[in-house]
């Protein structure tokens, strides 16, 4: 969903730039509490992994494709604030080096793909975790649903921005329907990848999954029981 330059008017791009700067500042404050000796290099890896995975566009329906956004994946693995920063670094590198996503649209893309997905997705994840069983299945279900919803959430946020400052006047109802339809499908891919990766890390190193902190002791106890 990398927004190119020109889709949104200059004032809206400036406004999203300001919101993005504020959001990133907030994320930096929050990440200071999340990051320690063990999670800092892990977060670097998460960012690199999201960059790599974003190169893989998968087909969704006829003539359309999508790729992982990674906000929920990053948030569940390294925490929401650090996760938002990881995706932000990816978006900056993509915009500057790879001309993927516009430069004046960089703020827009950070708001949509880093802040809405990582912070918004994390809120959904936390809400689900509370009501689901406190085990591996519950955690993966919460990750998957949050990942699935995060993509249409970002799509809706784009529609919201387009309502305020779209370059070309179009039927906004139709825009909403098409954006949502396509991005629910992409969200299914987002959910599949997120569940697969969180599941793999959970199997190898449950202690490295930030969103599983509430489970780690239980899992460790179970492992040691199984071993004895």
């Amino acid at each position: 969903m990398h927004v190119p330059d020109g889709f949104l008017t200059a004032p809206v791009s400036v406004a999203t730039g300001v919101v993005a700067a504020g959001g990133v500042a907030l994320a930096i404050r929050g990440a200071r509490k999340e990051l320690d000796e063990k999670t800092a290099p892990m977060a670097g890896l998460v960012a690199a992994f999201i960059f790599a995975t974003q190169m893989i566009n998968f087909p969704v329906g006829a003539g359309t494709s999508g790729h992982l956004m990674g906000g929920v994946l990053a948030a569940v693995l390294v925490g929401p604030y650090t996760g938002a920063l990881c995706v932000t670094v990816v978006l900056i590198v993509q915009a500057l080096l790879f001309a993927d996503g516009g430069l004046t649209a960089l703020g827009t893309n950070i708001v949509l793909m880093a802040l809405v997905t990582a912070l918004g997705g994390w809120l959904i994840f936390r809400g689900l975790v509370k009501s689901l069983p406190k085990n591996r299945g519950g955690l993966l279900t919460a990750s998957g649903i949050a990942a699935l919803l995060s993509v249409p959430m970002a799509a809706l946020a784009f529609v919201g921005l387009y309502v305020v400052g779209g370059a070309v006047g179009i039927d906004l109802g139709a825009l909403t329907v098409t954006m949502l339809g396509v991005h629910v499908l992409i969200g299914l891919g987002e959910a599949a990848i997120t569940v697969a990766v969180v599941g793999a890390v959970l199997s190898a190193r449950p202690d490295l999954v930030c969103g599983a902190r509430h489970l780690t002791t239980e899992l460790t106890v179970r492992t040691s029981k199984a071993a004895s």
Binding site: F7, G44, M55, I170, D171, L185
Partner: protein
């Protein structure tokens, strides 16, 4: 090798394979937003990014004729640049360990002082 370092190296290897090899097989269809823009008639308002002249623009290395090599190299460069920048950022931001763990002098000073 510590378990953490092992995990990081395996993760990096996976990322490099995805960006360096598998990326070649990615779908080249327009993405969800581009598709919608085409359908709804605002695709033409897109302008080239000021970074369009970058030697890595559109995930290829300028001057490398072989498509597979060009995409793969661009992917590998991207993974390493993102890894470097993100690790720098998180290392600067991370909590300092408590004095007892990192700074022997500070610990002994505290001990002798108390």
């Amino acid at each position: 090798m510590s378990r953490n370092r092992m995990f990081l190296l395996i993760g990096l290897a996976v990322a490099l394979v995805i960006a360096g090899v598998i990326s070649f097989y990615a779908s080249s269809s327009p993405d969800g937003l581009e598709y919608t823009a085409g359908e709804k008639g605002f695709l033409d308002s897109a302008r080239d990014s000021a970074a369009a002249g970058s030697p890595l623009a559109d995930y290829g290395v300028a001057g490398v004729g072989n498509e597979r090599l060009s995409v793969g190299l661009a992917g590998i460069i991207g993974v390493l640049v993102v890894l470097l920048l993100a690790t720098l950022l998180t290392t600067v931001l991370k909590r300092r360990r408590t004095h007892e763990h990192t700074d022997q002098n500070a610990t002994s000073e505290t001990t002798s002082g108390s």
